[in-house]
């Protein structure tokens, strides 16, 4: 075991420590708090690189376990592990996190709760890294909940805003529903496998002994135990990763600060669900000896992913808020990752996760830069023509958009999405997910083009600016000091954008079909060899065509003639107002939830209240009246029968009490004397006992 395995725990511990320290800092010490968070994150990044190097040289899982608490003959062990999956995620999270931390110093510069923000951010990073390194489902769950808590805190960071507070509550409660399944699954797993450790030199829950036992035991509906437990845990992943039907919190979560959206709700936390499925993949994919079709669990994952992917993409088409578009896009992309996991295994899903993390963080930070530049405006109808004011943002955002759209051959998004489509195409159960995913990809390219056209092309439509009110857009004066004028963000914000843009480009080449280094690294074999499989080129061509078609459609509808005013309805809205409304309201799912679950809960509460008020209250009243009557009878008996007896007895008791009180005269030495006499008596008793 190399030294790094022992110290992997420092990677989450450092940001947590930073969070703990900055929690104690006074509000005014902004620089120390930010510096602490950034330094801790940089240190974690360095450590993560070391861990990555260690994992490169030895791809088999290396673990460090210790027993945490013991009750009866059961021992709960915790631990951490280092395998390629962990290493890749560590590097990604620390790197993206570091960039976003740096970006946040610029973005949150004017916020009075700057210190608190960095405290939460560092705590979040710690929790997320804890999820990644955990070698025990229990530890993973703990960190998972830390992540959930910080997500709540950060979404509701501007808690004075009632919508933010509501969004925070929504996110917390929705993910909790999923976590309930997770918890049940975890308990069940412990009951069956007697351990929650993933790898424990042959005894872990993910290793062949336990898995083969779980895979052949069946439970209700012929499900294997492994599938059932996997599905329960998948509930947690669904909540966290915003899969339909638990996705509702994710778009609302955009009420939080934009760096938070970038870090938590695009790049890392929502990926935790995907990561969780990738982590327990051996459990999900375990099947008996004779069955070879994908397990029920993986099928469910695929279908949920496919539905989510298509759902998110369609809804994103009809949004106005720049961040909501990205949010629904995230939902959709998470669906892709789930498809990838379901049909192609962890390598495929994780590859998309990593590339997505970079370009989605880029997009969110770009959106943040746009919002920052437009003084808080989030409606894309009120933007436009920003490429002149914010060239750097435009450039990087464009790269992110191309990556998300899957522009052929050059960007990372293409390669990772292509791998998913290819795997889906070859899925043995059904072709439908492939078609759903393809449609989703088309829509993805379309809505991204739409968004870019709205934001960066055309004319400026900010309120207070007529379309041509800015006569000299390039003069230094108006750029930097104009009150409502869009302006380019400071370097501390654009520098991370540039770095992320570079990676959004470059990362794809780690996993091209010609050189599938990433996949082989994750799968643990070192044969970096190009595999020419049938239909590969065809799929690539198909996905290229889809992406280009989507971009072209978008440009056709939105880019060809510039949008003139902010009141002008969308092109699609003009054509299909009903459909657009449905999509804009995200299939009315929130309304449906409101009408069903929320109302049901309200009614239940009201019913309980009524029951309480009338039925139980009446019963209590009746009983109390009965008791009162009894008491009256009793007091009669008391007064004339019992009192006489009591009077005589209390007299004797009070006499005894007075006698006892004489013993306690408040004189210390008297007490000591009694103790001394008692000692004499005790020694005499003991001696007598011995003598006998």
């Amino acid at each position: 075991m190399t030294w790094i395995v022992r110290y992997v725990c420092l990677i989450p511990a450092l940001p947590m420590l930073a969070a703990g320290i900055s929690a104690l800092l006074p509000q005014r010490s902004r620089k120390p708090a930010a510096g602490l968070a950034i330094v801790s994150m940089a240190a974690s990044f360095a450590l993560a690189l070391c861990a990555f190097a260690a994992a490169l040289s030895n791809p088999s899982p290396q673990v460090f376990n210790f027993s945490w608490l013991q009750f009866g003959d059961q021992t709960l062990a915790l631990g951490w592990l280092l395998d390629p999956l962990t290493a890749v995620m560590l590097v990604m999270v620390t790197f993206v996190g570091l960039l976003i931390f740096i970006y946040s110093t610029g973005y949150m510069e004017h916020d009075e709760n700057f210190t608190r923000f960095f405290c939460f951010l560092a705590l979040f990073a710690g929790g997320m890294l804890g999820v990644i390194i955990a070698n025990s489902l229990l530890l993973l769950f703990m960190c998972w909940e830390i992540v959930g808590l910080t997500s709540y805190l950060l979404i509701g960071f501007w808690y004075q805003n009632p919508r933010a507070a509501a969004a925070a509550k929504k996110a917390f409660i929705t993910t909790r529903i999923g976590d309930l399944g997770f918890l049940i699954g975890m308990v069940w797993l412990y009951a069956q496998a007697h351990t929650l450790l993933f790898y424990d030199s042959g005894r872990g829950a993910l290793e062949s002994g336990a898995v083969s036992h779980l895979a052949v035991t069946t439970t209700i509906y012929g499900l294997t135990l492994s599938s059932a437990i996997g599905l329960l845990i998948f509930c947690g992943a669904m909540g966290k990763s915003g899969q339909v039907p638990l996705h509702v919190w994710l778009p609302d979560a955009m009420e939080g600060p934009t760096p938070v959206s970038a870090l938590i709700h695009a790049a890392t936390m929502v990926a935790a669900g995907v990561f969780l499925i990738a982590r327990i993949y051996p459990l999900m994919s375990a099947h008996g000896v004779e069955v070879v079709t994908p397990t029920i669990a993986l099928q469910v994952v695929t279908w949920v992913g496919a539905i989510t992917a298509l759902f998110g993409a369609t809804v994103a088409v009809a949004q106005w808020d720049i961040k909501r578009i990205l949010a629904y896009s995230t939902v959709s992309q998470l669906g892709y990752m789930m498809i990838g996991l379901g049909v192609g295994g962890p390598a495929v899903g994780m590859f998309h996760l990593i590339t997505h993390a970079f370009f989605k963080a880029l997009l969110f930070l770009g959106a943040g830069s746009v919002i920052h530049g437009c003084s808080g405006e989030q409606d894309i109808r009120r933007m436009g023509g920003l490429r002149k004011y914010m060239p750097l943002t435009f450039l990087t955002y464009g790269i992110g958009m191309l990556a998300l759209s899957g522009f052929p051959l050059v960007v990372s998004g293409f390669w990772s999405k292509d791998a998913i489509l290819y795997s889906a195409h070859h899925w043995s159960v059904s072709q439908l997910p492939f078609y759903m995913a393809s449609l989703g990809a088309l829509l993805t390219a379309f809505y991204m083009t739409r968004q870019v056209c709205y934001v960066f092309f055309g004319t400026l439509r900010l309120p207070g600016h007529g379309p041509v009110s800015h006569s000299e857009p390039d003069s230094e004066d108006t750029r930097h000091h104009g009150a409502g004028h869009p302006h380019e963000s400071p370097a501390v914000m654009t520098a991370p954008l540039a770095i992320l843009a570079f990676f959004a480009f470059a990362l794809g080449f780690l996993g091209t079909p010609l050189w599938p280094w990433f996949q082989s690294f994750l799968n643990g074999d070192h044969s970096v060899a190009a595999e020419h499989e049938p239909g590969l080129v065809a799929t690539m061509a198909a996905s290229s065509v889809i992406a280009l078609l989507g971009i072209f459609l978008g440009w056709l509808l939105y880019g060809r003639q510039s949008i003139a005013t902010c009141e002008a309805p969308d092109v699609l809205e003009r054509a299909q107002p009903q459909t657009f409304r449905v999509l804009h309201q995200a299939y009315f799912i929130d309304a449906i939830y409101d009408a069903t679950f929320v109302r049901l809960t309200r009614w239940t509460a009201k019913l309980a209240d009524l029951l309480d008020r009338f039925l139980f209250h009446g019963i209590v009243q009746a009983i109390s009246f009965g008791v009162l009557g009894l008491a009256w009878v009793d007091s009669f008996v008391d007064n004339y029968v019992v009192n006489f007896g009591f009077d005589s007895s209390w007299r004797s008791i009070s006499m005894g009490g007075r006698a006892m009180a004489a013993l306690q005269g408040g004189r210390v030495q008297a007490y000591l004397r009694y103790i001394g006499l008692a000692l004499v008596a005790l020694v005499l008793y003991l001696l007598w006992g011995v003598a006998r």
Partner: protein, 103 residues
Amino acid sequence: MTGLQAYLLLSSLLFAIGLAGALTRRNAILVLIGIELMLNAANINFIAFWHYGPATTYITGVMFAIFSISVAAAEAAVGLAIIVAAYRHSHTIDLDSMNSLKG
């Protein structure tokens, strides 16, 4: 009389004298000192039993004496502080007249 018995006898005499002091003195400080003496008598027992025990490598007796000394030091500090506070309150440390809980 063996060696151990001599030590035990000495310690019980010390204990009894300490007890007598604690029981008969009026001065609260001296009562406290009597109690300290009783603790010391116990320490003598620990050390004596250790010395005459089966193996001197088992130093439980010594450790016990050390801890007992530490506790006694804490006890003396707090006890004397209480006496000083009580004196400030009632202007006497005569135990015979300090028998009321009322202020």
